[in-house]
Assembly symmetry: C2
Homo-oligomer: 74 residues x 2
DNA sequence: TAAATATGTAATATATTTTTGACATTATGT
DNA sequence: ACATAATGTCAAAAATATATTACATATTTA
């Protein structure tokens, strides 16, 4: 899709709060450790399902973990 | 990832509210019309970016358009 | 300081999303 | 009745997300 905004996330912050390792998060959610690493380093935009799973694990909302900053808006 | 929940959405409702056609939504967001059709028919879980774009277009939150129902939770 | 655990990188393979294009059907307007 | 717009289906290709494996480097802890 058209590149319209930038996705950032607070994954490592929420992970630290819970004291989980990346491997532990991966296992709990059922994805690979690489997926968690890549997400924390902002390598790509996850599926909405994965975003919901992470939000659920960290007992918060999708938009608390992930932020979307539209370009060219003020 | 592990199949843990079911994703549903209210896309057609929000689209109707704005009076947009599927093609118009597709064009505004910069994706193909097929993508919108498939999403409305719940064919797959969109990228988080696309979810944010739709939320922005409909001036609402991601979780107002998309719902994630965990299985085996009450 | 040695062992164990956590984080990171890279390459390749597989799965899923998204695009493209062609065509069918239904609804709307003239 | 005809034209046009909206919705839908299908299949194949392209793009992107995720898995897998193997190895490297930090960091923690016994």
């Amino acid at each position: 899709m058209k590149e319209q905004g930038e996705l950032t996330n607070q994954l490592s912050v929420f992970r630290a709060k819970k004291g989980y390792s990346q491997a532990e998060v991966a296992k709990r959610i059922g994805v690979s450790r690489q997926t968690i690493i890549s997400l924390e380093k902002n390598k790509y935009s996850p599926s909405l399902k994965l975003a919901f799973e992470l939000a659920h694990l960290f007992e918060t909302g999708v938009e608390d973990i992930f932020q979307y900053n539209l370009k060219g808006e003020e």
